[in-house]
Amino acid sequence: MKRWLFLAAFLVLVGYLIGGGIWLHPFGVPARDEMDRYFIQNAQAEVAANNVVTSIVFDYRGFDTLGEATVLLAAVVGVALMLRKVKG
């Protein structure tokens, strides 16, 4: 019984992955490309940076980067807290 259950789950997973490979969305044709077009057309003029990825990370979505920096800070604080010297 358990074995058949595992087999069914395995087949479903394999079918899902194969189907995902077959019906994969074509590369380079996004469903909505308004944001992409906007960034590509205007990032150089607005941020004056050649690297559009950096201009998105630090300008358009800077708040996201602030969160990433906070995650790093939380990780460091967690490690420092866990591995501190305890008296006694």
Binding site: A48, N50, T54, G62, L66
Partner: protein, 149 residues
């Protein structure tokens, strides 16, 4: 570690340091940036910990704490520069001052370091933060459980 490892470390240390600084400094021109370059530079700390042992680098803990604070504060202050319009507004871009040189509106250009407004400064802030953060994590992990840690 053996003398071979120590010698090789001394040779590649400046190279890795220069590469990390390059990746941080050119974050607004080439692939990379503060996080990536900071990770490259923090790998030097990991190398030093492996080769020389964490006890010899114990004094760096305080410096890392200061660097982390400076990086985080600089990042938030640079974000607050643009609070007149929005948080994270790039006020220095194209203003003609520091990092304010204009670039062509669209298309390729040689790429000047003196562009992109607050982006290079933020890259440095985040780079300092990542160097100090990852470096202190590696150092604390190496010092854990030691009597002299």
């Amino acid at each position: 570690m053996s003398v071979v490892v120590r010698t090789v470390t001394r040779v590649i240390l400046p190279v890795a340091l220069a590469f990390g600084a390059y990746v941080i400094m050119h974050g607004h021109l080439t692939p990379g940036g503060g996080f990536q370059g900071g990770a490259v530079t923090a790998s030097i700390v990991a190398l030093l910990v492996v080769v020389y042992g964490g006890a010899r680098l114990k004094g760096a803990k305080g410096w890392f704490a200061v660097l982390e604070d400076v990086g985080a504060l600089a990042f938030v202050l640079l974000a607050f520069l643009g609070i007149g319009a929005t948080f994270f507004r790039n006020v220095l871009a194209g203003s003609g001052g520091l990092f304010g040189a204009p670039v062509p509106q669209l298309g390729p250009n040689p790429g000047a370091l003196d562009t992109a407004g607050t982006l290079p400064l933020m890259n440095w802030a985040v780079g300092l933060k990542v160097i100090a953060g990852l470096g202190s994590v590696v150092l604390l992990l190496s010092l854990f459980g030691r009597e002299d840690g």
